[in-house]
């Protein structure tokens, strides 16, 4: 979950390179005229107009799946709202991003999520809940929830599907958007849909190669590194005190940039910057998990 102002640079740059010969697209966002490169999304246009659009299933390094619908905006002439992340900006579009309809749908989506999923570690979502006046309690006590136990199947990361919003990001990162391992997919249907391996076999028995790219893209901490999970369980997870140091992975010659997240002079997790030309935020098991030697382990 990134706020859109942080992300724009990369996504419009990329679009600009791809379509630099095409005529730019002009449209209006909340009555303000904006111009974006051909091929840009409505979300890009919103950002260009200075509008911060909430997103959940969108990530700049993944193909939009438009499943969460939190980014919906009103498009004059469309019967329904449209997802900003996956709709291309078109000439002459008139978009409203803060109409009553938009606010209502976003509020309901937040209520639906908050009433069924544990959002306690999905920080930006939690603040949206109050921003949009969502009241998950009004659905009463007898509501279906994800109701899943934490799965600890190895030493590297845990899966807590109580926190899963089914945004598909992990599936995409495991599949043809990054890793091409295809260890997980969505199984089941409707509210029973879950991220799963085949026959729900444990991760070590699946195709998983422990690149951790699924963990890196998870917006709600349903997937988290064991280091973080253990510290949280012990009440010792203090993100405010953490520092981030950029370095280059020492294992091979590819040159992946690593961000070492350090707390109490100990590495607690490793990520890679999304805008890094080599990784687009994705790593392999060595860069992601193979840092124990730094601490002599």
């Amino acid at each position: 979950m990134t706020s859109s102002s942080e992300r724009t640079a990369t996504s419009s740059e990329r679009t600009a390179t791809d379509t630099s010969l095409e005529t730019p697209v002009r449209l209006s966002i909340d009555e303000v005229d904006v111009e974006v490169a051909a091929g840009a999304s409505v979300l890009d246009a919103c950002t260009a107009a200075g509008i911060d659009t909430p997103t959940l299933c969108f990530a700049e390094n993944l193909t939009p799946v438009n499943a969460c619908r939190i980014c919906v905006v009103e498009h004059e002439g469309s019967r329904t709202l449209i997802p900003a992340c996956s709709r291309r900006a078109e000439d002459g579009m008139a978009i409203q991003t803060d109409s009553e309809r938009v606010r209502h749908s976003r509020k309901m989506i937040l209520e639906f999520l908050a009433s069924g999923v544990d959002l306690s570690q999905a920080d930006p979502l939690a603040s949206l809940v109050s921003e949009y006046g969502a009241d998950p309690a009004r659905y009463g006590d007898a509501v279906a929830t994800m109701d899943e136990d934490v799965r600890i199947e190895d030493d590297l990361y845990v899966r807590d599907y109580d926190k899963c919003v089914l945004c598909y990001k992990c599936v995409e990162a495991c599949g043809d958007d990054a890793q091409h391992t295809f260890a997980i997919a969505v199984a089941g249907r409707g509210f029973d849909a879950r991220i799963s391996t085949e026959f729900d076999v444990e991760l070590p028995d699946s195709a998983c190669v422990y690149c951790g790219n699924c963990v890196a893209v998870c917006p709600t901490n349903a997937l988290q590194f064991t280091t973080e999970f253990d510290l949280r369980t012990a009440g010792e997870w203090r993100p405010d005190e953490q520092t981030t140091t950029r370095t280059v992975c020492s294992y091979c010659g590819v040159g992946c940039n690593l961000d070492l997240h350090v707390q109490d002079e100990t590495i607690v997790k490793v990520t890679s910057p999304n805008d890094h030309s080599v990784t687009s935020g994705h790593l392999c098991i060595k860069g992601r998990f193979g840092w124990g030697y730094v601490h002599g382990r």
Partner: protein, 589 residues
């Protein structure tokens, strides 16, 4: 994807044979030539992915479930990641991924509205006590003969016992039938000869004389609107596909699953050659050489008869290369659905055929440019297609003169529930709701009309004051309702609507694909509210709060869901409250 991870479970001989049989024509994705050479690769794998659904059907049919060993073998043969194939298998109602522990056939019993008021709960209890394996099913598309049942065979063919009874068309012998005239005349649905003797394949010959462009323009001129529920102009769709280049597809959307609808089943079972001929004309007109007919999995007789029609047509040169001695190529392939209402949504249907989960795609882009296999696709409902035969024969203007200005032609209506003679009826557009009800013998039961569910579960309830409403797209739109797929489900004054509405909510909860948040969770919350409302009086203001929730959820699902399922998941329920079909129960002290 050369190094798929396949688990240790091994398929049985039965499972291997089942999969091999499905892929025998094209072979496995990777072929070993001796120890040191293989043929394979991405293109070869992608070309075979669409065999996943038929192969899953084969495993389920022969083994009674999709076992880890069976799935592994299938995934190895088609080079599909097991997690993805498992995700597909678990999407469908007709597949199970746990060992059933028995080798019996399973009886699917419909529990949706028309069967619900006919006593499906009792049928389920009786069959259970008789020792049958029961699966409570959403609408089985046999609403004219409740309680509907479908037997899923284990190693034996799937069957519908009611299909063994003689078929009677309520309007048989009546004048003025257009779509149903061959059925009325008793044309043998298993015989091409009989179909041709009744004028069959004259339309294809006429289409060749007219030329592809002219056929498209006549369909545009006819004003024919799609009969699957969305009422999109067929000619406009065809014109768009005809304007595209490269490989194009025609898809017949015969995944009829809208509760209350059984028209396409009746057409496929009793006039299958008409659908095959019309699909061929669609292929000729749009320049598509490949056709697919996706039939819902619970329609074994329709599947058999359509397959027979295709085989006979191919044998006689009406399908294949150089159809009917022309230079045009067109062939049709049957695909069976596996129990998923959502696969009637056109883009979900594409994903289903392609071997992915039946999740709808965001539109735009539309199927006319990015349809099946991402190619331009004309996807039409069977009833829509059958209309094309007369349009080609008589011209678009003649067709446009039938019905009303905004709704040309005739329409099939599926009468069910508390009505004199339930069944399929045809009438020209413009006929009133009351007149159609009279055609079917009026209200049965108490004889007093409470409400009609118009358009199916995705439609709305209308009251007795709507009987004078003309059944046209424009009149329905003006009244804020929809003709949908032609469902007219009748409820007499004795029916308690709360259980009906609660089941409707449960239907959408079960059938939501789960992709988008508004529908995945909204349909669940809606069902929970209905369960609470149906559970009896409460002493606080919960009732008012819940009605407020229903309204707000409806708005959000309509506005923010990806597809029509979410858009309409609350429509019928809200219309029932608006009509006052449900009253607030008395407050208990």
């Amino acid at each position: 994807m050369a190094d798929l991870h396949i688990g240790p479970d091994v398929a049985t001989e039965l499972e291997r044979c089942a999969v091999d049989d499905v892929i025998s024509d094209v072979g496995a994705a990777v072929v070993h030539h001796g120890d040191r050479m293989v043929r394979g690769g991405t293109a070869r794998r992608n070309e075979r992915r669409h065999l996943l659904l038929p192969a899953l059907h084969a495993l389920q049919h022969h083994a009674g479930w999709i076992s880890p060993g069976g799935l592994n073998y299938l995934c190895d043969q088609l080079q599909i990641p097991p997690a993805e194939a498992y995700g597909v298998a678990t999407f469908y109602e007709l597949f199970r991924v746990d060992d059933p522990g028995h080798t019996d056939d399973v009886v699917h019993v419909c529990i949706d509205a028309a069967c619900q008021i006919a006593g499906s709960a009792e049928t389920v209890a009786e069959l259970r006590s008789a020792g049958r394996r029961i699966h409570e099913s959403p609408c089985l598309g046999q609403c004219e003969r409740p309680t509907a049942q479908f037997v899923q065979g284990r190693g034996r063919p799937d069957r519908v016992e009611a299909d063994e009874e003689p078929f009677e068309l309520p309007q048989a012998g009546t004048d003025g039938l257009r779509l149903l005239r061959r059925i009325s005349a008793g044309v043998d649905p298993m015989s091409l000869e009989s179909y041709v003797a009744a004028g069959g394949y004259a339309a294809l010959a006429k289409a060749f004389v007219r030329g592809a462009e002219n056929v498209v323009e006549e369909v545009v001129a006819s004003g024919l609107m799609g009969r699957g529920g969305a009422a999109f102009p067929t000619g406009i769709k065809w014109r768009a596909v005809a304007g595209e280049t490269g490989q194009k597809h025609v898809v017949v959307n015969a995944d009829e699953s809208e509760p209350g609808t059984f028209k396409d089943r009746t057409l496929m079972e009793h006039d299958p050659f008409a659908i095959v001929e019309a699909a061929t004309i669609a292929g000729f007109a749009t320049g598509a050489t490949k056709g697919w007919i996706y039939i819902r999995g619970e329609y074994p007789l329709a599947t058999k008869r359509i397959q027979n029609a295709i085989d006979q047509a191919r044998g006689a040169g009406f399908l294949g290369q150089g159809i009917a001695r022309s230079t045009i190529d067109f062939d049709l392939e049957v695909r069976r659905g596996a129990g998923a209402y959502i696969c009637g949504e056109e883009t979900a249907l594409f994903n289903s055929i392609e071997g992915f989960r039946g999740e709808p795609r965001q539109k735009p882009p539309f199927p006319t440019t990015n349809g099946l296999f991402d190619r331009p696709t004309a996807i039409n409902n069977p009833e829509t297609l059958v209309n094309v035969l007369d349009i080609v024969t008589d011209g678009g203007a003649a067709f446009a003169s039938i019905g009303t200005k905004g709704s040309s032609g005739s329409k099939l209506f599926c009468l069910s529930g508390r009505v004199g003679t339930p069944g399929l009826y045809e009438a020209d557009f413009g006929v009133t709701l009351g007149e159609v009800l009279d055609l079917a013998g009026g209200v049965s039961g108490t004889g007093e009309l409470q409400a009609i569910l118009l358009g199916g579960a995705a439609g709305s309830f209308v009251g007795p004051d709507s009987l004078r409403m003309p059944l046209t797209f424009e009149a329905a739109r003006a009244a804020g309702v929809s003709l949908g797929s032609g469902v007219i489900m009748v409820f007499d004054s004795s029916v308690d609507q709360l259980p009906i509405l609660t089941r409707l909510a449960e239907f959408f909860r079960n059938e939501s694909c789960g992709q988008c948040v508004p529908c995945r969770i909204g349909t669940v919350r809606q069902h929970e509210v209905m369960v609470r409302l149906a559970s009896g009086p409460s002493t606080d203001n919960r009732w008012e709060l819940d009605l407020q929730l229903l309204e707000e959820m409806d708005t959000a699902m309509k506005d923010a869901s990806i597809c029509g399922l979410g858009h309409t998941a609350a429509t019928a329920i809200r219309s029932a409250f608006d009509l006052g079909l449900v009253e607030k129960p008395g407050v208990t002290q």
